[in-house]
């Protein structure tokens, strides 16, 4: 594998995110600093409430940064308005949800097309689905697919947009062990094959060895950032 030092792709500098609930102020993210290199497979880990999902939301352009600087691919995301953020999500981000979030009323192919419809430089939906191993499931509805298959569709949907960055929120959280493994393999392969930067959020530190970089979150801060020059393949890890 390529072990050259990678240029910083995602840069967070003293990023804060504060929610206001009535009189109370909740600091979900409280001064996070870390970077992720281009083409890296990064894992953000931490317990519930550690702020990892908020960080993912901020990187994914789903939420505004309260203070600090967040840039992706040399583009400052923290200052973008709602419309720019939408454009950013549309063109640069692929998102994989814990619960897949497929539109139940659309076939696998159509769920992918839903994403490619709005992205000019998209990949062929059918090919993408074939790449995730669902070439024979194109016309199936989500309800006719297993959890793993559904998550593959979700990944295909994210990938077909040809994003710079693939963000995954507990992609295996709703899956059994074996299926989870397959999904992680798919993500890792995708990262290696296409050079897409992948950020995976998980509470399961056992999968940390597969990542190029591991960011541990605690109480809204990045407790530690570990680079892992010799990332293992998923098959080599057991948990």
């Amino acid at each position: 594998m390529d072990r050259e030092p990678r240029p910083d792709f995602i840069v967070l500098q003293d990023v804060h995110k504060t929610y206001r609930v009535g009189e109370q102020e909740i600091r979900a993210v409280d001064g996070v600093d870390f970077t992720v290199g281009r083409g890296e497979f990064a894992i953000v880990a931490g317990a519930s409430g550690a702020g990892k999902t908020t960080v993912l939301n901020l990187i994914g352009g789903m939420d505004h940064v309260t203070s600090g600087c967040l840039s992706v691919d040399d583009r400052v995301v923290s200052g973008l308005d709602a419309r720019r953020l939408t454009e950013y999500r549309r063109n640069d981000i692929g998102f994989v949800f814990q619960y897949y979030n497929l539109v139940p009323n659309l076939t696998a192919l159509e769920n992918v097309e839903l994403a490619t419809e709005i992205r000019r430089e998209h990949l062929d939906p059918k090919t993408t689905l074939e790449q995730v191993g669902l070439g024979d499931r194109l016309q199936n509805f989500p309800a006719q697919l297993s959890g793993g298959e559904q998550q593959r569709v979700a990944i295909a949907r994210a990938l077909a947009k040809n994003p710079k960055l693939l963000l995954c929120d507990e992609p295996t959280g709703a899956l059994d062990y074996q299926t989870g493994k397959q999904i992680l393999t798919l993500l890792q392969d995708t990262c290696r094959r296409t050079g897409t930067t992948v950020v995976v959020i998980t509470h399961n530190l056992a999968i940390a060895p597969m990542a190029d970089r591991v960011i541990r979150m605690k109480s809204g801060r990045a407790e530690s950032v570990t680079e892992n020059p010799a990332a293992k393949s998923v098959q080599e890890i057991e948990w």
């Binding site: 939408t86 949800f97 979030n101 009323n105 159509e110 839903l114 709005i118 509805f141 989500p142 309800a143």
Partner: protein
């Protein structure tokens, strides 16, 4: 208890959380209840209003008419009928009154005199409700009715001059022809605009005036009003009233069966007595006449005898005188002969003497003989003297005879002259006698003929017939009741729609709520709460919503709807302001129904869900699987659809309940709007079509009854001389009653006979409404107008009976039915008229077409022509149009109510459905936001479905609205007019556009909701 309170608090918190949804349920229940209650109670409200009015004014229970009028004895007999509390004899006559530029027929009716109709009764019957001024108290005072028609508008102090209208002497019937208006009234007898028909003027009674009964000079009463005892206080239009009325009617009919023959007998015996007297009178006068004539003749004969006698005597006297004169003449002749012979002998003696003397002288013997000679001389002289004397005597005798003759002739001549004079006198007398006799004979013959005529008339004296008319024969009473009943017909349609939509809305909202609360329900269930207990939260929610909604609906339904609808009718009926009733049980039932529907929906949905185990409930519900839709199988079409449209199609067909609900709700909205606009079109069509496509003339000039030929010619000249005159058509118009002749429905109509049927088209168009094919008026039968034919139940080819105002009936065939909207007409050719009625029709009006089609031109025409003698009225089409427009404007308030309700309905439906749609798909929406959909794209992703559903609803609404509006229009129609049957294309477009506009309004309100959806939702677990 504590738990229960917590439970309630939870339910109310739920309400606060889902306030818009809650309000939607409240609103739809309110709308449905208001509509149902509103339309349903307008009928009893209207009837109660009328019943109050009838009770307050003492509206008659029966009105008795008779072909021979009523005598005091009849009135007395009526007073004795059981159950009759009031009897009020009345008189009436129809008179022509000039109002402005035209002649109108007024019905002059009696008001009971001040001392009351019947001693001992408290109040009179049919008391006029005085709007202004007072009731008449003296002869020559009258009251008029309040603004019946726009052009009859009297004020107190105005004067009214009555004319008979048919040349008869009005003074024989009424004390004065000049009346002063002292008051303006309304009467229960005339609630609708219909005033009946008449045989004078234009055949239609325009208005009525009330004058004191004592002003009438008729010997019998023309009618009697009867009030019946009403101990139970049965109200007008109620079954109890009808029953009561039926009982008394039977008694009145019985009296009529007894009293009418008595009257017939009385009339018969009176007539016979009169005839017998006349007969005796004739005999006496005939005898006298004959006696006189014979006396006259005897005198003449006597005179003649005397003259003849005189002549005979004269002749005898002449004869004897002639004889006497003849014998006297004879004697005279004899005397003269004797004297002649004496003279001759004397001459001879004288000559002999002279000769003897001469001889003697010669002989000288003279001396000798002288003594002898002397003696002889003396002798001779004596003889000569004697002769002279004799001659004188003879001459005297001749003179005497001549004188006698002369005298006798003179006497005879005098006598003859006298006789001749007598004779000529006699001759004159004879001549006079002859003429007198001829005269007297003629007179007697005439007298005899009259007598015989009278005798013949005795054989067909009228049989007295009483007509006992109850309220069901009063046009106003029946019309008004029917109008109120028509609302019930409408009430059968609309509430169904609203209840249906309300149910759907409740189902949808409750389903959604139950869905949202699955975990909560599961938790409670696992804690051991009973199902009812758990469901009671939803029940409480539904109950509060429906009680609030139904209460609001009841309020609006009882307070707001009836006056609005009534307002539309108020232009048509003269009745005081609406009485609003509150029907407690009905309100409770409506409330219960609203609550039951809503709570039923809540319970049904909750129990269905609660059937699952607690564990199942606590797990998220498996999303409804996607399915291949039918549309997909049409590959060429599916392939050509853009991706977003495919998604839309899938989603629409996936949520079929929502699809159905939107189609019903939005369709209902469109249908309601279409009904509203259709109603407007229907009313607009009446005038537009009637005066724009069918009646093309611009003025009607009506001639007076009995206008002379010279007047007719003058009118014609005046009409044709008018500046804008284009063409004209003479016609006859008269009132007829049309029936199928089988005892079924009969309708009043105008019989219209154009002088030139072939030339009618430029003035009146006869055509089939559906095919628009023109109809030719032929001699083989009549053409009826559409509504008339429909109501009487006639179609082309049927036999029809036409009865005129005098009761004469003719029977002919219906050849065709023609499009017509206002009033009812029977069209007939002059030759058919002549054949049926035995005389050619006398034209009594002229239809005029002007070169300029404008109200101004019509006004000018009217002003110029109306002054011509012989014209009864000039009616302008523009006046008719504006008059009708005014009376129909009121219907627009109903249209407004419909538009408002429709808007509210579509708003509630679309809001609720969109709201549910959005909450149900929050996750999906958040996901596509994360995918990078712009707000606009997100909106169109969701609202494209709304648009399609709305369009489908609009289409369904337009389809369903068409028959619905026909039903409503048919139900709302009044007898005198036919509403338009065609909804204009523009109205379809308007209904569709308005519905789309409502839907757009909801969409815009919802765009904000979409924006607010947080993308973080996409990360959460399934609900």
């Amino acid at each position: 208890m504590v738990r229960a309170r917590a439970f309630r608090r939870d339910a109310f918190r739920e309400i606060r959380r889902t306030l818009p949804r809650f309000i939607a349920i409240v609103a739809i229940v309110a709308l449905g209840t208001a509509f149902f209650v509103g339309i349903k109670t307008t009928n009893p409200d209207m009837k109660a209003t009328a019943a109050n009015y009838f009770a307050e004014t003492g509206f008659y229970d029966f009105r008795l008419l008779s072909n021979v009028g009523f005598t005091e004895a009849d009135v007395e007999a009526l007073r004795g009928v059981e159950g009759v509390t009031g009897v009020q004899p009345a008189d009436s006559l129809d008179a022509v009154v000039r109002v402005g530029s035209s002649e109108k027929v007024f019905r002059v009716e009696s008001l009971p005199d001040a001392d009351g109709p019947m001693p001992g009764t408290a109040a009179s019957i049919d008391r006029p409700h005085v709007v202004a001024g007072r009731l008449p108290t003296a002869s020559g005072e009258c009251v008029v009715e309040r603004n019946t028609l726009a052009d009859i508008d009297y004020a107190v102090g105005d004067r009214i001059h009555l004319t008979s209208g048919d040349g008869s002497d009005l003074a024989a019937k009424i004390a004065t022809a000049d009346y002063t208006v002292v008051g303006i009234v309304e009467t229960p007898e005339y609630v609708s605009k219909d005033r009946g028909t008449t045989t004078i003027g234009n055949g239609v009674v325009s208005s009525f005036v009330l004058v004191p009964l004592s002003d009438f000079r008729q010997t019998v009463y023309s009618g009697v009003y009867v009030a019946m005892a009403n101990p139970t206080g049965a109200r007008a239009y109620s079954a109890a009233y009808d029953d009561l009325s039926a009982v008394v009617k039977v008694r009145l009919d019985a009296l009529s069966a007894e009293q009418a023959p008595r009257r017939t007998l009385q009339i018969l015996s009176d007539a016979w007595d009169a005839w017998r007297a006349a007969s005796a009178e004739y005999d006496r006068s005939a005898y006298d006449a004959r006696q006189q004539m014979s006396d006259a003749w005897a005198k003449i004969a006597d005179g003649q005898a005397k003259v003849d006698d005189g002549r005979a005597q004269l002749a005898a006297a002449e004869k004897s005188a002639a004889a006497r004169f003849a014998s006297a003449g004879k004697d005279l002749a004899a005397g003269r002969a004797a004297w002649q012979s004496s003279e001759t002998s004397y001459e001879a003696n004288r000559a002999a003497f002279d000769a003897a003397v001469a001889q003697a002288k010669q002989l000288g013997d003279y001396d000798a003989q002288k003594p002898a000679f002397d003696a002889r001389q003396a002798q001779l002289d004596a003889a000569q003297a004697q002769l002279a004397a004799g001659k004188a005597a003879l001459d005297a005798q001749v003179a005497t005879l001549a004188k006698s003759k002369r005298d006798a002739a003179a006497a005879f001549a005098a006598t003859k002259a006298t006789l001749d004079a007598s004779q000529s006198d006699l001759d004159q007398g004879k001549k006079d006698y002859a003429t007198q006799k001829a005269d007297a004979d003629q007179k007697l013959a005439d007298g005899y003929a009259t007598l015989m005529d009278g005798r013949a008339k005795l054989d067909d004296l009228p049989t007295a017939t009483w007509y006992v008319l109850d309220r069901s024969t009063n046009v106003g009473y029946v019309d008004y009741g029917a109008a109120a009943d028509r609302l019930d017909a409408i009430a059968r349609v609309f509430p169904v729609l609203f209840v249906l939509v309300a149910m759907l809305i409740c189902f949808a909202s409750m389903s959604r709520m139950v869905e949202e609360q699955r975990t909560y329900m599961g938790t409670l269930k696992s804690l051991g709460y009973s199902r009812l207990r758990i469901a009671s939260k939803f029940l409480l929610y539904a109950f509060s919503a429906s009680v609030l909604g139904a209460a609001a609906g009841l309020y609006f339904g009882f307070e707001f709807f009836p006056p609005t609808i009534y307002h539309a009718y108020s232009a048509l009926y003269t009745i005081p302001n609406l009485v609003l009733l509150f029907d407690g049980p009905f309100a409770a039932a409506a409330l219960a129904a609203g609550v039951a529907v809503t709570c039923g929906a809540a319970l049904l949905v909750a129990f269905e869900e609660l059937a699952s185990t607690a564990a199942t409930l606590m797990r998220p519900r498996a999303p409804k699987p996607g399915r291949v839709i039918l549309l997909e199988r049409i590959r060429p079409l599916w392939r050509r659809m853009s991706f977003t449209w495919k998604v839309t199609a899938r989603n629409i067909l996936r949520y079929r309940a929502r699809f159905l609900m939107t189609v019903v709700g939005v369709g209902g909205c469109t249908a309601l709007l279409l009904v509203g606009f259709g109603l407007r079109d229907a009313v607009k069509t009446i005038v537009d079509e009637q005066y724009g496509s069918l009646f093309l003339y611009q003025a009607t000039v009506t001639l007076q009854d009995g206008a002379t030929d010279a007047q007719r010619a003058a009118v014609k000249t005046a009409v044709e001389a008018e500046t804008h005159y284009a063409a004209s058509l003479d016609r006859r118009i008269e009132s007829v009653t049309v029936s199928a002749g089988d005892g079924g429905v009969s309708m009043d109509a105008s019989l219209l006979v154009p002088a030139d049927p072939a030339g009618m088209a430029p003035f009146i168009v006869l055509r089939d409404r559906v095919t628009q094919a023109s109809i030719v008026l032929g001699d083989e039968g009549v053409v009826l107008t559409e509504k008339l034919a429909g109501r009487v139940g006639l179609k082309a080819g049927d036999a029809v009976t036409l009865t005129d105002a005098d009761g004469k009936s003719v029977r002919t065939k219906v050849t065709a039915v023609t499009e017509n909207y206002l009033r009812h007409f029977v069209y007939m050719t002059p030759s058919l008229y002549a054949r049926l009625y035995g005389s050619a029709p006398v034209d009594n009006s002229i239809l005029v077409d002007l070169t300029v089609r404008s109200a101004e031109a019509q006004q000018t025409f009217s002003k110029t022509v109306v002054t011509t003698g012989g014209i009864s009225s000039v009616v302008l089409t523009s006046d008719n149009v504006s008059k009708f427009d005014d009376s129909m404007k009121s219907i627009y308030s109903i249209v407004l109510v419909l538009i408002f309700s429709a808007g509210l309905l579509s708003f509630i439906v679309l809001y609720t459905l969109t709201d549910i749609n959005i909450t149900e798909r929050t996750r999906e929406i958040a996901t596509i936001k994360v995918l990078g959909f712009f707000d606009r794209e997100v909106a169109s992703y969701i609202f494209r479905e709304n648009l399609v559903l709305t369009l489908a609803g609009v289409a369904a609404g337009l389809l369903a609205g068409s028959p619905l509006s026909h039903y409503v229009i048919g139900s709302a129609e009044v007898d005198l007019v036919m509403f338009g049957r065609r909804i204009l294309p523009a109205s379809f477009a308007e209904a569709a556009a308005l519905t789309l506009a409502f839907s757009l309004a909801v969409t815009f309100a919802m765009v904000y909701r979409l924006r607010r959806i947080d993308m973080i939702e996409a990360l959460k677990t399934s609900e």
